[in-house]
């Protein structure tokens, strides 16, 4: 079957954002303000959910004219940067909030999972919370009765099931919450970034369960995530949002390219307008390792030089969203035997970069060319973006790297 199961037409949603308060410049004005304060407050609070004109001051369109369709059995990824409107879209689809305008038609029972373990009460036992959470998500008591053993089993909480949840570790709480959710049987399942919590092994288990569900039971899933490897793995199609606007819908592989391409240039090409340089980076890009090296990428660099010299190459890697430094790698700064020997004109280099200690996610790479402690030649700040789609080796490395610590990134010359 390839019937349309969700039809979204011109959905828009606006919110009110805080405006800067007018400050009093005299004492008398300040006194008047104190007296007026409750009246102003009343007006402000009253208008929180109300709007008059089309374009008012202090109004933010979280979504504007978004339309798309989802077919039955499709697993659609919804991607976009922070503030792109993903969560707002999910909140509208799950009926938590109303759209300002537009219309959505959905065929079938909808369950939304915007949080794991909604309604959990710390004083209640695990068993009681399963019923609490399950009924909030729209299950009936009888349905939960039937699946109770399976849910407890899946969560791995086992013998602690009759202990109040406040004594659980946060990991156990998440597991319990997710196993309730994993046993929902709606025709349409809406999932927000809930997989970012919980340990790696359990995440994999949940992803597996989700994939299974859509494949064998024909369930439609909408999946919002920053975890690109999860999106790639699960979603055949993806939708890209940008600043509340619909950008593109299509095959995940094609759409991901667009999404990532917008972050920064994948390939760095400099336009050189004068010859007043000594050494400059002309071009740089990253590719998957040519050789069969697991966990390595290949960095190509072309340097233009007006002199015969040797230089050091430093790379710095940081996360693309929060700009947190991840690591530093060097050829020649600390060991001058590693320095790159340059001839006049174009010089091509190729390096292998070890990415085993880097977590799944998007990164920016900066390049510095220097004569260590003597001269600074060129810097390309955040000139290349790359993405780690799969953790390469063991979980240990992945977990280590969640801390975004400063690792030495190993580089070897590839000549």
């Amino acid at each position: 079957m390839s019937d349309t199961i969700i039809k979204v037409e011109n959905i828009s949603k606006r919110y009110r954002i805080g405006l800067q308060e007018k400050k009093a410049d005299t004492f008398a004005q300040q006194m008047v303000n104190v007296l007026k304060y409750p009246i102003d407050n009343f007006r402000k609070i009253k208008n929180l959910g109300k709007f008059q004109g089309e374009e008012e001051e202090g109004v933010h369109w979280a979504l504007k004219d978004v339309s798309f369709e989802v077919k039955q059995g499709e697993v659609l990824g919804i991607i976009g940067k922070n503030g792109a409107g993903k969560s707002t879209l999910l909140k509208i689809l799950s009926k938590i909030t109303e759209p300002t305008s537009g219309r959505i038609e959905m065929y079938g029972r909808v369950a939304a999972l915007l949080e794991v373990g909604t309604g959990f009460h710390p004083e209640l036992t695990g068993r009681e919370n399963i019923y609490m959470n399950g009924t909030i998500l729209g299950m009936t008591k009888r349905e939960i009765d039937r699946k109770l053993d399976e849910i407890i089993d899946f969560s791995g909480v086992g013998k602690y099931i009759d202990t109040p949840v406040k004594f659980y570790s946060s990991g156990m709480r998440v597991r319990l919450g997710f196993s309730v959710a994993a046993h929902l049987e709606p025709e349409i399942l809406i999932i927000d970034e809930v997989l970012s919590v919980g340990d790696f092994e359990f995440q994999q288990k949940c992803l597996g369960k989700m994939g299974e569900v859509s494949k064998y039971e024909g369930r439609t899933v909408l999946f919002v995530s920053h975890n690109m490897s999860a999106v790639k793995e699960l979603c055949s199609n993806s939708l890209v949002l940008k600043n509340g606007n619909f950008q593109k819908i299509g095959k995940t592989s094609e759409v991901l390219h667009l999404y990532l391409g917008k972050t920064s240039e994948k390939k760095f090409n400099r336009i050189i307008d004068n010859q007043n340089y000594e050494v400059i980076v002309n071009m740089a890009y990253i590719e998957n390792s040519k050789e069969d090296l697991d966990g390595y990428v290949t960095l190509f660099i072309q340097l233009l030089s007006n002199l015969e010299t040797s230089v050091a190459l430093d790379i710095r890697v940081k996360t693309s969203d929060l700009q947190i430094p991840v690591g530093f790698g060097s050829m020649g700064t600390f060991d001058h035997f590693d320095q790159l020997k340059l001839n006049k004109g174009k010089n091509n280099f190729e390096f292998n970069i070890n990415t085993k200690t880097i977590a799944v996610g998007e990164y920016l790479l900066s390049i510095d060319i220097t004569k260590p402690f003597v001269k600074f030649y060129d810097r390309c700040e955040d000139c290349i973006s790359f993405e780690i789609l799969k953790p390469t080796s063991k979980q240990k490395d992945l977990l280590l790297s969640w801390n975004y610590g400063a690792y030495v990134i190993e580089i070897t010359s590839n000549v």
Binding site: D3, G49, S94, I104, R109, G119, Y131, I136, L137
Partner: protein, 272 residues
């Protein structure tokens, strides 16, 4: 193909969706149980507090109003006189604050999952019923101690309880919907509830109310409930003149509450 659901911006006043409420009846049950369990969790006396609270209030009232101020209690023991009133009053005041806070306290749920929001004040009101029943047992004890035999008009008790529930739920719905947007409700309620006590014949008798104010006074739904309950347990004729104005008000508040809540419902998630 299963049934279609349409999401659109809603306009104006809407009737409550009873079918949907029914589908979520299990949630109402578990939220009610959660409310009860959470209230008495990790307390030594547990539901014993539902006995101690009204009992001590009654004792204080008996000493202050019955003993020191010598308030007229229609010729019955003051302790029985005030307990008969405190029994429904405590339920009323308790549900008022509990339901008014129900939406704000569960804002985390409202912004993460859809379910009929009405379930929350409903559960608050139902979870208080346990206290109500337990304090009824104390009332039985008092009746036996004073050797009072309820009259045949006890058959009207369910009617008065419906009036009590409608008034509690009606006001509860209005206040909870307002409290989502205006947190002032929470602060105002704590002392307003205390003051309201004096607008109902809890510590004094209706005979103290001047004749020309009787009608206005009886518009308070709790006046009829308290007077009616006293009358039926003490085998007096039902004071219908005190009851019917309040009954109409209770019904009106309940219906208005339903519509008001429904109207405000759509902005809950945005402003909570």
């Amino acid at each position: 193909m299963s049934k279609v659901s349409v999401i659109e911006p809603s306009k104006g006043w809407k009737v409550v969706d009873v079918g949907e409420l029914w589908r979520y009846k299990d949630l109402l049950y578990f939220l009610t149980v959660r409310g009860i369990k959470a209230r008495y969790a990790q307390s030594v006396l547990g539901v014993g507090w539902a006995i101690i609270q009204p009992l001590f209030t009654t004792l204080v009232f008996t000493v202050v109003f019955g003993g020191l101020a010598k308030v007229d209690s229609d010729g019955m023991p003051y302790i029985l006189f005030s307990y008969l009133a405190l029994w429904p009053w405590n339920y009323f005041s308790g549900t008022l604050s509990e339901s008014a806070n129900s939406l704000v306290a569960n804002a985390g749920m409202i912004t993460k999952v859809y379910f009929p929001r009405l379930i929350l004040p409903l559960a608050a009101i139902f979870s208080k019923l346990l206290d109500f029943i337990i304090s009824f047992i104390v009332l039985l004890g008092l009746l036996i101690y004073f050797q009072v035999m309820p009259g045949w008009n006890l058959v009207f008790l369910p009617l008065l309880l419906v009036q009590l529930l409608m008034a509690s739920l009606g006001i509860g719905m209005i206040l909870s919907a307002m409290a989502v947007q205006y947190r002032d409700v929470k602060y105002a309620l704590t002392f307003v509830v205390q003051l309201l006590l004096y607008l109902a014949p809890v510590v004094y008798s209706t005979t103290a109310v001047p004749d020309q104010w009787q009608f206005v006074y009886s518009l308070n739904p709790m006046v009829g409930v308290v007077e009616g309950i006293r009358a039926m347990f003490l085998s007096r004729p039902m004071p219908w003149e005190w009851i019917w104005p309040g009954a109409i008000v209770a019904m009106a508040v309940f219906v208005f509450g339903l519509f008001y809540f429904r109207r405000m419902e759509k902005v809950f998630a945005d402003v909570a």
